[in-house]
């Protein structure tokens, strides 16, 4: 290795006497003189092929093998833990599990009916044994309804979740919940132009159709798109979310500088049994004031548009889709917003009827059974489940199709 000071090496002016021609003739040979690098990592085509095979095997078999290593046995009333809401790989695994044949009971699938929606279905203010699916199961007398709700998901993200991570939901009964709260303002409807952080941005359309308030970098958007199609990437996200507190390894080691990252991978999925606060206080007792929501028009609503896409997608996959709208806390509305809401409700109803989608659009529950604008207390869920069981459309589309 040469150890010359670069300023000492060849420090005289270029030899003016040397002919220009000879200098230029030397140019071709200089190209070959460029050293390769400063390490020995230089593989041949055959060696790259070996790397390609190893990596392809990992890409293809890694996530599948992992399912055999990491145990996933959801019990009755299981719901994805709140902290794992963004773990779409696990959601996909849960969908497949719920739709797979039950080894012991010999039925077609573990759960005949999947209840899909946002935090209202998930049961944000109630424990897992007070959710809508729990009360429906109670009415059915057996575990027929699986809680596939995802806390914080909105129709635009739900459409993405079903499209890319819910491909295994085929030929099932689906109760698809629509929460009108997502149309209660232009901001909820993602229509405003000003950028703001909303839930599950990885699931919304990254480029087309354009969501005005979504202005993430092209790089991150492309990354989100790639993750949807490369299971390996959503699986590594699962590892980060589940075992590294939703951080990547570098960030995790900053929090645990002397920790062994391998020890963090316990192979035990967190259960979060205490998820859900089992709230007992109604919105009035909490002191929430009446609101004058600025509802968006159904025709122009992005969220409603995405909800329609979800219905069509599920139906196209051979599912029986039953739509549950609300029940929204109408007691909380004031002024013109009540009338606007009712008009919107009737427009939704008209669309569902026109498209032959069975639905139930219940009247608002008693005021004291709401925690806020859309989440019922556990008694509210029980009442809603009972109402559903008494609903003719529900009985004929969901219960009779078993």
């Amino acid at each position: 290795m040469e150890k010359k000071d670069i300023l000492d090496a060849g420090c005289s002016m270029p030899d003016a006497r040397r002919s220009r021609k000879s200098r230029i003739e030397n140019q071709e040979s200089r190209i070959e003189e460029v050293p390769y690098g400063s390490n020995c990592v230089r593989l041949s085509a055959r060696e790259w092929l070996i790397i390609g095979i190893v990596f392809s095997a990992l890409l293809y078999f890694g996530p599948t093998l992992w399912e055999h290593i990491e145990r996933f046995e959801p019990g009755p009333d299981y719901r994805l833990p709140y902290d794992l809401s963004s773990d779409y790989w696990l959601h996909n695994r849960y969908c497949r599990w719920a739709c797979s044949p039950s080894p012991s009971e010999g039925r077609g699938s573990r759960y005949e009916t999947l209840v899909i929606g946002d935090s209202v279905v998930w049961g944000h203010f109630v424990s897992k044994d007070n959710t809508l699916s729990h009360h429906l199961n109670k009415n059915a007398g057996h575990n027929q309804f699986a809680n596939l709700g995802v806390d914080g998901i909105h129709p635009a993200a739900l459409a993405g979740l079903l499209k890319y991570y819910g491909r295994d939901i085929k030929g099932a009964n689906v109760i698809l919940h629509f929460n009108p709260l997502w149309m209660s303002s232009k901001k909820h409807d993602l229509q405003i132009d000003k950028e703001f952080h909303f839930n599950h941005p990885k699931l919304v359309p990254q480029f087309i159709p354009k969501i005005p308030c979504y202005k993430d970098s092209y790089s991150r958007r492309l990354s989100a798109v790639v993750e949807r199609y490369v299971t390996f990437l959503s699986w590594t996200s699962h590892l980060k979310i589940t075992y590294f507190d939703s951080m990547d390894l570098p960030a995790w080691t900053l929090e645990h500088p002397y920790g062994n990252p391998l020890k963090a991978v316990t192979l035990q999925l967190p259960t979060f049994e205490d998820d859900g606060q089992n709230e007992r206080i109604s919105w009035k007792e909490k002191g929430i004031a009446k609101q004058d929501f600025q509802w968006v028009e159904l025709e122009t609503s992005l969220q409603w548009n995405f909800f329609q896409q979800s219905i069509k997608m599920l139906k196209a996959r051979g599912n029986t889709v039953f739509v549950l709208v609300g029940p929204f806390n109408e007691h909380l509305l004031k002024g013109k917003s009540i009338d606007t809401y009712r008009r919107m409700k009737s427009e939704i109803e008209a669309w569902l009827r026109q498209n032959n989608v069975p639905y139930y659009m219940p009247e608002a529950l008693p005021s004291n059974l709401y925690v806020d604008a859309s989440h019922p207390l556990s008694e509210g869920y029980a009442m809603l489940a009972k109402q559903l069981y008494e609903n003719e459309s529900f009985r004929s589309s969901i219960l009779c199709s078993e």
């Binding site: 290795m1 040469e2 150890k3 010359k4 000071d5 670069i6 300023l7 000492d8 090496a9 060849g10 420090c11 005289s12 002016m13 270029p14 003016a16 220009r20 200098r23 230029i24 140019q27 200089r30 190209i31 070959e32 460029v34 050293p35 390769y36 690098g37 400063s38 390490n39 020995c40 990592v41 230089r42 593989l43 041949s44 085509a45 060696e47 790259w48 790397i51 190893v54 990596f55 990992l58 970098s217 092209y218 790089s219 991150r220 492309l222 990354s223 790639v226 390996f232 590594t236 590892l239 980060k240 990547d248 390894l249 570098p250 960030a251 080691t253 900053l254 500088p257 002397y258 990252p261």
Partner: protein, 458 residues
């Protein structure tokens, strides 16, 4: 659109197959130029005006010089124009700030408004490359490039546009002249270079940045061990960041049939400061040697003038890195380091008795110390860091062991590479094993954030 992001993958997936298809036709250079300009416009379409201006100016100046009239004047026009461009965008804020300090100290109640201009990415690199062409032509080292498209491609070639290497016309222009015969080896070599660079940037530099940024953003809150470790980590962060970029640039270029110069050659194994600068940012160091140090007189006019020239070259080099006094001090410190090691290397005791490892460690410690000025936000921050390193307590630094393990693994590899056991690293299972480990690490543990390259700001 940086090499380690998805948009670049998409860009390259479109550009590369098309390039392979047209490489034997007349469309090769227009396609390369269009791709390079598109690549640059992705940062800001207005930047195209600057690069087109600089390109046209130097192309025209050399065309006029060829006619043999007032060659020196035209060279001066080119140099002044290029430096004016660089000064306006890079040093406008720095000059204004210092003038305002001067005005204030003179009691003049007037402040010159700050220009509020952002430095266009890559400006310092392509301006230097373009200047080298005109100077080399003036000196008679190269022929005039007659094709404007070829010359524009030489200035803007996208793999090296943002952060170099600062190529010389005598190396790159001939490669643009001949039709590239891209061999299988070129593609696999390119991939090998790229994967190493990608690992350096994403797995190492961006990782180390997390700790370095935390400590350097609030140096007053940390004690000696944390400050020392953050400085040590920054020393490696900047190396991994910049050499990672260069490796990726060389890899991409190699896949396209171009051989860009080696820019980093295990600099932290240097045994002297001069040796360090022949291993660190080689394209810039040799640029300063050829176009600043030698024209100043080089080492031809006695010891005093040699050191004076060295000092000036290093200070200018410091200022090239950034418009702040911290960079000037950094350059000056390196100049002093060079004086000392140059003199030491002339003594037989240092040359023959001092073990190589001791020399390497001394140089490493010195270089690491100077990085404090390079990284600190201001001179006062640098001073806080230095004083706290030597005077504060010994609180637990909470520095990730994994980061240190990775650094020492790389260091060990480099020592082995330059030792008698290099053959061990050349064994097929070792080479494949290293790439598998890098790919696995990247696949599972790469940070999700995409940090820009440090040298983009220069």
């Amino acid at each position: 659109m940086l090499f380690h992001t998805w948009p670049f993958v998409l860009f390259f997936l479109i550009v590369y197959p098309t390039y392979l298809a047209v490489k034997g036709t007349r469309l090769r250079l227009p396609w390369l130029l269009a791709a390079s300009y598109f690549f640059y416009a992705c940062f800001n379409p207005l930047y195209l005006i600057l690069i087109a201006y600089s390109t046209l100016l130097d192309y025209t100046v050399v065309a006029i010089m060829e006619k043999g009239r007032r060659r020196k004047m035209w060279l001066s026009i080119s140099i002044v124009n290029n430096l004016a461009l660089l000064s306006f965008f890079k040093y406008g804020g720095f000059v204004t700030e210092n003038l305002n300090v001067l005005l204030s100290s003179l009691g003049i109640p007037y402040a010159i408004p700050a220009p509020g201009i952002f430095l266009p990415v890559g400006l310092s690199f392509y301006i230097f490359q373009s200047m080298s062409y005109t100077i080399d032509y003036y000196r008679g080292n190269i022929e005039r490039e007659r094709s404007l498209i070829r010359y524009a491609t030489f200035v803007s070639l996208f793999p090296r546009l943002l952060m170099g290497p600062i190529e010389r016309a005598r190396n790159l222009l001939p490669q643009l002249h001949k039709r590239p015969g891209i061999s299988k080896q070129d593609i696999t070599d390119g991939l090998s270079l790229f994967i190493v660079g990608f690992f350096k940037k994403v797995a190492l530099a961006d990782y180390l940045a997390l700790y370095v940024d935390k400590v350097y953003n609030a140096p007053g809150q940390y004690q000696s061990p944390a400050l020392m470790l953050a400085t040590f980590l920054f020393c490696w962060q900047i190396y991994f960041d910049f050499s990672g970029y260069t490796d990726m640039a060389r890899g991409v270029a190699r896949m396209m049939g171009f051989r860009l110069m080696l820019n980093f050659n295990n600099p932290y194994l240097a045994t002297g400061l001069g040796d360090f600068w022949s291993r660190w940012h080689i394209s810039l160091s040799s640029w300063f040697k050829d176009y600043v140090y030698i024209p100043l007189g080089g080492n031809r006019k006695g010891t005093f003038n040699t050191y004076k020239n060295m000092f000036l070259t290093m200070v200018i080099s410091g200022l090239w890195h950034g418009a702040a006094w911290t960079f000037v001090i950094w350059g000056a410190m390196h100049a002093l380091g060079r004086f000392v090691t140059r003199e030491l290397e002339r003594t037989s005791f240092y040359k023959e008795r001092v073990p190589k490892l001791v020399k390497q460690l001394l140089v490493f410690i010195f270089v690491t110390f100077t990085w404090i000025f390079f990284r600190a936000e201001s001179i006062s921050d640098a001073w806080i860091i230095i004083t706290r390193i030597f005077s504060s307590g010994l609180a637990n630094p909470y520095c990730p062991l994994l980061a240190l393990t990775l650094i020492f693994s790389v260091w060990l590899y480099q020592f082995a590479y330059e030792s008698r056991v290099k053959w061990l690293l050349e064994l097929r299972p070792v080479r494949i094993g290293i790439v598998v480990l890098m790919v696995l690490y990247l696949a599972f543990f790469a940070p999700s954030s995409e940090q820009p390259f440090i040298y983009l700001q220069f």
